[in-house]
């Protein structure tokens, strides 16, 4: 009798788990597993959405890596963003985090002001920055010009479009500020006192007390930064569209990357191939490249000690 109740108890608990998990189980199957397998399938097919898909072997793959003129520029841009934009965000975010922990008067107001730009909807913020950095009449170049400083072409100059995007990304640093602030406040106070007694300079206190204590958070910021740099989509696309003046309704179709492919990122290629050129097969190839990169960095994030998942119980 006892084995019987035990088994039925176990079955009931499995059923209960399945019931609680069911929304996600359906979601996982329909909105993750199925489309992912389907993406792999279409990456080997010639398909335009109208005619029946036909087997294309590695044709899409060789097209994307060999002949599609946007693929390598977009990877180069992503590398630039990963190295420079992410570094700027982390360094600046840490700096602002340290600053806010030292501000004694009006802390709440400063914190809110520093945090606010992070909330600005990306399309709105991008539009605002294209205006602010408008080479001819924008406020930034107006002020730079009045000060006798050079006035770059920002979103209209291939050499300056990524720095302009970096400025936009650094403006929205609020998320990192909050995370770093929490980490900095967790550093044991005694360690600072001990360092001070030993006559450590401000730099030494930062280097030997602050940094070792917050290094997991710095790592977290870097890896999540890299992941979002690879996914960078709305800002570069909208910036290119608005700066070039080619926006829906004007009769022309906007080819992402303005100016001169300098703002291309991988997700924009999926859009360009799939929804502008109707080459679903090639779009799926780029999608898979994006998938592999995103998952590789996610794995890195999960592997770090005391990782994203946590102890569980």
């Amino acid at each position: 009798m006892s084995t019987h109740t035990l088994r039925s108890k176990r079955r009931r608990s499995a059923l209960r788990t399945a019931a609680f998990m069911s929304p996600w189980l359906i979601g996982f199957t329909v909105f993750f597993a199925y489309p992912l397998i389907s993406t792999v399938y279409f990456s080997f097919m010639k398909y335009d959405g109208f005619n029946t898909p036909v087997w294309n072997g590695l044709g899409n793959w060789s097209y994307v890596f060999g002949d599609y003129p946007m693929f390598w520029p977009s990877l180069r841009n992503t590398l630039w963003l990963v190295v420079i934009m992410v570094a700027c965000r982390v360094v600046f975010g840490l700096g602002i985090g340290m600053l806010i922990t030292r501000i004694r008067t009006g802390t709440g107001i400063f914190r809110t002001l520093f945090y606010l730009p992070y909330l600005a909807p990306p399309v709105a913020a991008t539009l605002a920055f294209v205006f602010l950095l408008n080479p001819g009449t924008g406020p930034v170049n107006t002020i730079l010009g009045d000060l006798g400083l050079p006035t770059p072409g920002w979103f209209n100059d291939p050499a300056w479009s990524k720095p302009a995007l970096t400025l936009l990304a650094v403006w929205g640093i609020g998320d990192l500020m909050v995370i770093f602030m929490a980490a900095l406040l967790d550093v044991p106070k005694e360690q600072y006192e001990a360092a001070e007694l030993d006559g450590a300079s401000a730099w030494q206190r930062f280097r030997f007390v602050t940094l070792p204590n917050i290094s997991p958070i710095v790592m977290f910021a870097v890896v999540t930064g890299v992941i979002s740099a690879m996914q960078y989509y709305a800002q570069p696309l909208v910036a290119g569209k608005v700066a070039s003046g080619i926006i829906g309704g004007s009769g022309q179709q906007f080819e992402p990357g303005y100016p001169d492919k300098s703002t291309l990122t991988l997700p924009q290629l999926v859009y360009n191939l799939g929804f502008q050129r109707f080459d679903y097969g090639a779009a799926c190839v780029v999608a898979l490249v994006l998938f592999v990169l995103a998952m590789a960095f996610t794995a890195l994030l999960m592997r770090r000690r005391g990782g994203l998942i946590g102890a569980g119980d």
């Binding site: 004694r104 909807p121 399309v123 995370i179 799939g274």
Partner: protein, 300 residues
């Protein structure tokens, strides 16, 4: 909140502090205060000035918005009425509220039981499920967009609407699940055990005991979800672009610029109107939001 970095120099002065050494220390503390707060003001300008210029341009006259002027000569508040009178603008608002509102409710409701199971049940495959949730959370939406688009557009004939974006929210949103689970982990098991001793099943425990305690976590998740939908550009671009009646603010804003090619003042007024609700919501729910951001990075 700021206690950790309180330095000895900042301590309130007492009679004992009147020695020359104490005076130097006090002067250094004052200089430190001035230095830190000047830097703070400089940083604040960097963060705030874009909003200020944005706003000032939004109330300029059509002619002045094309010049290098930084401040308006006349305050044209009528620009805001003009924006509201733009055909479609109110529809974008309605659509955005539908997407953000309904999407948030659905994803929170469907994510709670999953997060609870992942946080508090012990079952085989739990770790694997959690890893898959994180993978879904990290998945760029473009990776699966081709089959998803074919599914919604060709099989269900729902392109030109926002339903392809709203319906999936009823099946657990990975980010919400993950964040809620992190939060539920912080609720001690003793509370759940006590409820069970009192004869509550898992479902009643969840409703009666866990949910009231998880309110801050749920608030944070709901806010994130709302902001996500409010800000989403890619989703509406793929599914709604063909039908202006289904556009959202984020998507419509861009076309607004296209239609008002040279009217930076109107475009900036529209931009202010898209930013304002998010910022207003933030002011009312600041604590929940900041807590949520911290939760994503630090806890666990």
């Amino acid at each position: 909140m700021t206690s950790v970095l309180d330095r000895p120099g900042a301590a309130p002065e007492s009679a004992r502090d009147r020695t020359p050494a104490a005076r130097t220390a006090r002067r250094r503390a004052l200089l430190h205060w001035i230095g830190v707060h000047s830097l703070g003001v400089a940083a604040a300008l960097f963060f705030v000035l874009p909003f200020v210029f944005l706003f000032l341009t939004s109330v300029m006259s059509d002619q002045q918005a094309l010049t290098r002027d930084l401040t308006p000569d006349t305050w044209e508040w009528g620009n805001y009425t003009k924006v509201f009178d733009t055909p479609g603008f109110l529809t974008w608002w309605k659509n955005t509220l539908l997407y953000a509102g309904l999407g948030t409710v659905l994803s929170v409701l469907s994510s709670i039981p999953v997060a609870y199971a992942l946080a508090k049940f012990r079952f085989r495959g739990r770790q694997l499920s959690l890893m898959l949730v994180i993978s879904m959370m990290m998945l760029p939406p473009q990776v699966i967009i081709i089959p998803m688009y074919l599914f919604w557009a060709k099989q269900l004939d729902l392109s030109g609407t926002l339903w392809p974006l709203i319906i999936p929210m009823a099946f657990g949103d990975a980010f919400s699940i993950f964040l809620l689970r992190q939060f539920l982990l912080t609720i001690p098991n003793e509370y759940l055990d006590a409820a069970k001793v009192d004869g509550c099943g898992e479902f009643r425990t969840l409703i009666r005991v866990v949910l009231p305690m998880a309110r801050p976590g749920i608030a944070a998740v709901a806010l994130f979800q709302f902001f996500y939908a409010w800000n989403d550009y890619f989703g509406p671009q793929i599914y709604a672009s063909e039908n202006p009646a289904a556009w959202t603010l984020s998507y419509g804003l861009e076309s607004f610029k296209g239609a008002h090619h040279t009217d930076w003042n109107l475009t900036m007024a529209a931009t202010v109107l898209v930013m304002a609700p998010v910022i207003l919501v933030f002011f009312f729910a600041q604590k929940a939001f900041v807590e949520g951001v911290t939760l994503t990075g630090v806890k666990g």
